[in-house]
Symmetry: C2
Subunit: 332 residues, 2 copies
């Protein structure tokens, strides 16, 4: 029910996902009186793999996570996560309020053993393919141990999603000649270097999009600023391209001729194909779609959920952490 567009997008994305993944079933959680007409419109009423589970409330996009958690016990978000907890469904995908989704996920599903803080992880396009970056805003004050856990979780995700047996992991830092990073990243670097992860050391902000590593680890404040900076710059480049191609008759003609190339470029960089951030570290699979996701984007978030189910991502994170902790004798 959440996101900027609500069921108008999620129901059509569900139809698309059912076509893409013939083995899955989907449960739409929300107000039946809103969902049912939409199903009729899309001729989905008799679709045997699509179900409705009633929830009477909706968490607002700007609602405080604490309030949502306390007061909206029958929200679509809460009910969907309850269904994960009860094993009725294998994953929850939501375009709703990120903070409320994370808070509800932590409250209902709890975190995996050995994980203090779940983190938000998403794939980003790079020159060579894509990279997975976390945390993107769930945790603003991180200890070295938190960053270590993020490194393990990101590595497992890259391994599972990309089938990359040994994803490289980098820790985001600054390369100012003045001071090489703060104490937290320095200590985190030592901790990660002791794991069996394929840790390549510090990277800088400009390394994210070159694809230097498969996993980028940062605290949530820095990760969020970096992600948003990139979104803002991409929007600016897009705007400057558009306005310059619209300047006069000649440039409009040039735009027509260059269009196939520009469309290819746009497709390569299209954030929609990367939509779907994983709330890693929860004892269950929860995927956050961008609030403004369209049908294609939301279907991509569902696809990520399907992959994480197939690959048992939470279980693999537990195993990896357990192996690491028993290797180092660290029970933290």
């Amino acid at each position: 029910m959440g996101g900027d567009h609500g069921p108008s997008v999620t129901v059509s994305a569900a139809r698309r996902a059912l076509k893409q993944h013939p083995d899955i079933e989907l449960t739409l959680v929300g107000r039946p009186e809103v969902l049912e007409p939409r199903l009729r419109d899309l001729d989905l009423v008799d679709e045997p793999r699509l179900h409705i589970h009633a929830a009477t409330e909706v968490v607002d996009m700007d609602e405080s996570p604490a309030v949502a958690l306390k007061k909206k016990k029958d929200s679509s978000m809460r009910v969907a996560i309850n269904l994960v907890k009860e094993g009725v469904v294998d994953a929850c995908v939501s375009a709703g309020n990120t903070g409320a989704l994370m808070a509800t996920g932590k409250f209902v599903l709890k975190t995996l053993p050995g994980i203090s803080r779940p983190a938000i992880c998403t794939a980003l396009p790079t020159i060579t393919g894509h990279t997975h970056m976390l945390d993107l805003g769930a945790n603003i004050d991180c200890t070295p141990e938190h960053l270590l856990q993020f490194a393990v979780m990101g590595s497992v995700l890259a391994e599972s999603v990309d089938g990359n047996p040994r994803p490289s992991v980098g820790l985001l830092n600054i390369g100012s000649e003045a001071i090489k990073g703060n104490e937290v990243v320095k200590q985190a670097s030592q901790l990660i270097a002791e794991t069996r992860l394929n840790y390549t050391g510090f990277i800088e902000g400009d390394d994210i999009y070159t694809g230097k590593v498969d996993v980028v680890v940062a605290d949530g404040f820095v990760g969020n600023v970096s992600l948003k900076t990139a979104e803002g710059l991409a929007a600016m480049v897009n705007q400057v391209l558009k306005s310059n191609f619209k300047r006069n008759l000649f440039t409009r003609l040039a735009a027509v001729i260059a269009m196939p190339v520009l469309n290819r470029v746009r497709h390569t960089l299209d954030p929609r194909q990367y939509n779907g951030a994983s709330l890693l570290g929860l004892n269950g699979i929860v995927i956050k779609s961008h609030g403004s996701a369209d049908e294609e984007s939301f279907a991509n978030a569902i696809k990520i959920a399907v992959i994480e189910i197939d690959q048992s991502v939470p279980k693999r994170i537990s195993q990896e952490l357990h192996q690491h902790l028993s290797a180092t004798g660290d029970g933290a």
Copy 2:
């Protein structure tokens, strides 16, 4: 003498700057045996507004600032900053080692009264023009008071450079619905709101390039990651555009036709026209050029120095801080 290209760029940039600014004189600081042949090549030996001041050493790009400060007392960087201190010149422009430049600037020139930490500030292109962002890497662990000082310095710079009588100032934060920022930015926000600056509150990473504010304030870690992220993304977009336009005969033809438009776009976003970061808060004007700057970029860094001299930026920062401190009764 510094930077990736050394005097081959700086001397030709000096020639360009002398043409652009008929009122200035320039002093090249470095090894005469290296500089003089270059002057001869460019027919600048008899240029009355161009001088050479000898310095026998050069700070390496990867040298530790502490070592440079202690051991290289006759480096071109140290001698140039000494000349600022002695009032022989009005500003120093360097493409050398950022950390050493900042450390030497602090040691020789000291900071302005009321400034605890100088900060690195540069202009960035936005959809509507440009914005000034600081700190870009000089200070990684900042207190609310440091961020307040950055806000004052950035505002004075925007006022001086752009002739904007009331530049808007935003504080970089994350907009995660979970947690609105850490304690430092929350307290800094309160402090800045009490000044007479045109403070508009928190902004997020994607607001930087929309030109939402004239001055973006952040701690040096976050500011550096944001800047580098943008550089990396820009490089990726450029690469993807290039490789797609080079794919086949048709796309190469499209490139030729679209070239004038793409060149305009490139010009609008060209980082060279923004080259020249101010080391604000020092008791003197020091401008850091990008190490890889070419002639045009380095000349732009000189232009920024000229403007800051004309506008007496350090003096104006002192005045603004003094007015603020006497208004709040805070002598910190």
